[in-house]
């Protein structure tokens, strides 16, 4: 590989650091992470609180820029991209699922799922149909007109997953997606993610729960901003 060529992996991090400055105090959230994630992987990121998991997710999600080091998503170096280009990358290539769901409370499930299409650079004419399709995929075909308040936590998270899927992303990022859910609902959500992974979407999940990590084909453990263990799990739990 020559100096200028992007790494072949779908997601590549080279010596990535993230330093937060709070007054005169510096917090080294990531201390030089080098990581490749290939297309089609299902990765679980684990580690103690404050070890840098969310910091890394935010960088991969193009929501934040590293303090140093270089990152590539789908062959594109993020440091060279403008904030508008990063927004487009988030819209087209990445899908987010948050622990707190982050649905718009006054909008119906369908409207929430449609939201990313509103920011698509190429006009989407079949937004309603696509949003409905995604809601059916997560098993909420009969709840499209419900507002978030009228849905259970698990159902809300499924709406959020549908929203992350609506613009056909290659990568789905989920930071503690089941952190606010009970065991049975957790299994439902993880089942959906596994199914999506089988359809070819690369999935990265941050979690504290080993039962959740069971579903992943690769587990990465963080400690103090560094990768401690990176292990493939050929016999991952298949829902």
């Amino acid at each position: 590989m020559s100096a200028g060529d992007p790494p072949p992996a779908l997601i590549a991090c080279r010596d990535v650091t993230k330093v937060y400055r709070m007054g005169d105090q510096e917090v080294h959230a990531l201390a030089g992470v080098t990581l490749d994630i290939s297309a089609g992987e299902f990765v679980a990121i684990m580690g103690p609180s404050g070890s840098g998991k969310s910091s890394l997710m935010n960088l991969i999600g193009a929501l934040d820029r590293p303090t140093s080091g270089e990152m590539w998503i789908a062959g594109r170096g993020l440091s060279q991209m403008s904030s508008d280009e990063l927004a487009d990358l988030r819209n087209e290539t990445l899908g987010f699922v948050f622990q707190q769901f982050n649905l718009l409370p006054r909008q119906s499930a369908l409207a929430n799922v449609k939201l990313p299409l509103r920011y698509a650079r190429t006009e989407v004419t079949d937004a309603d149909a696509r949003a409905a399709e995604c809601l059916e995929l997560v098993g909420l075909g009969d709840r499209m007109d419900h507002r978030p308040m009228q849905l259970s936590g698990g159902q809300q998270q499924r709406v959020a997953i549908a929203r992350a899927l609506v613009n056909k992303p290659r990568i789905l990022l989920a930071d503690e997606p089941t952190g606010a859910l009970d065991t049975r609902t957790t299994e439902e959500i993880m089942g959906i993610l596994t199914q999506l992974n089988r359809q070819g979407i690369t999935i990265i999940v941050v979690t504290h729960e080993s039962e959740v990590a069971e579903y992943a084909s690769r587990q990465i453990h963080f400690r103090d901003g560094n990768i401690e263990v990176d292990s493939a799990r050929p016999n991952a739990k298949r829902a």
Binding site: N58, G61, L63, D64, S83, D84, A87, D88, R90, N91, E92, F96, F98, N102, L104, R106, L115, P116, R118, Y119, A120, R163, A164, N167
Partner: protein, 408 residues
Amino acid sequence: MKVGVAAASALEALLSNPMRSLLTMLGIIIGVASVMTMMAIGEGARIQIDQQIASVGSNVLTMSPGNMSRGGRSFGGGSGKPFNEADVAAIRGLSIVDAASGTLSGGVTAVSDSANWATQVLGVDADYFTVQNWDAAEGRIFTAQEAGSGALVAVIGKTVADNLFPNGGALGQRIRLDGTPVEIIGLLGEKGTSGPFNRDDQVLVPLSLSRNRIVGGNKTVARHVNRVEILVQDGVDMEDAQTEIGDMMRERRRIQPGAEADFRMFSVADFIRARGEAMNTMGILLAFTAAVSLIVGGVGVMNIMLVSVTERTREIGLRMAIGARGGDILTQFLVEAVSLCAIGGLIGVVIGFGGALGAAAVGGWPAAVSPFIVGIAFGAAALVGLMFGFFPARRASRLDPIQALRHD
């Protein structure tokens, strides 16, 4: 992202907190309503002035004896040496003059069979009707010959007719003017009031009749007249006309070059225009007040938009995370601010419409709410939204997605 979609979600955001939106709009509503009322008042006053000028004629000059210092501001004049009919004839002979009439006025008691009425008698030439563009609504005006010979005829104004003949039928009747019997040959069309003077409360008689039998002659000047009403030819500059007539009159009255003239000239149209300008100044002052309330309204909008940006920081972060560019967020909040102001503007337009009609009714001028005025008032509101919405919208668009998402 299309503006239509943004407008729809903006409306939704505003409706989600209707009371707050309404209170925020209040400044805009008041501002727009006053802009509209002010403009309608200004426009109505302008129309009224135009009508008044049209009714007196914009190229009519009135000449009266006495200079400014002696005559003061008084319209009455007459304090200096009067003019005579030869002066009138000379003026009439100028090429720039279409018509000229001497006038001689005085108070008189008019008596009919059934009533009497204290009014003003005005002796005039037949030219007077041309100068004033005034004709009889019923009957006829008197001829040059009748005017010259001092025939016992009169043309009376509406007010006089109504008071002397409450039951109508004035035409052809005989009345006495301080004892002089005259026949009513014409009823004048209504002219209305010009300043404090009711122009319909007059009896017009031939000039020589008025001089010889009613008002009386002058000790020093034979065949005298009080004033001269002059109709200047169309297209001639009124200043030039005043200079030309003035120069001739100075010569006729043997005034040394450089000495002050003992007569003066003015055009009623100029006087009305000057009064209109004073009203304009007033209008500008009121428009300024309206602008201030719009600005205050704008600051209110800015304040509430800043609050809204803070309240919805997480939502902004979420939108950014799913692909909204800074520009999309900017558009969203800008459209929201403009919608807020536009709705306020609409309500303001409705209230301003009422205000303009009310002001017109009170002020007695034509109501003049034109689409142009509505457009200006509404446009001002939208502009305020754009200007004062920009700062909060830009602040929203520049939020850091991660910090916005973490906001609680």
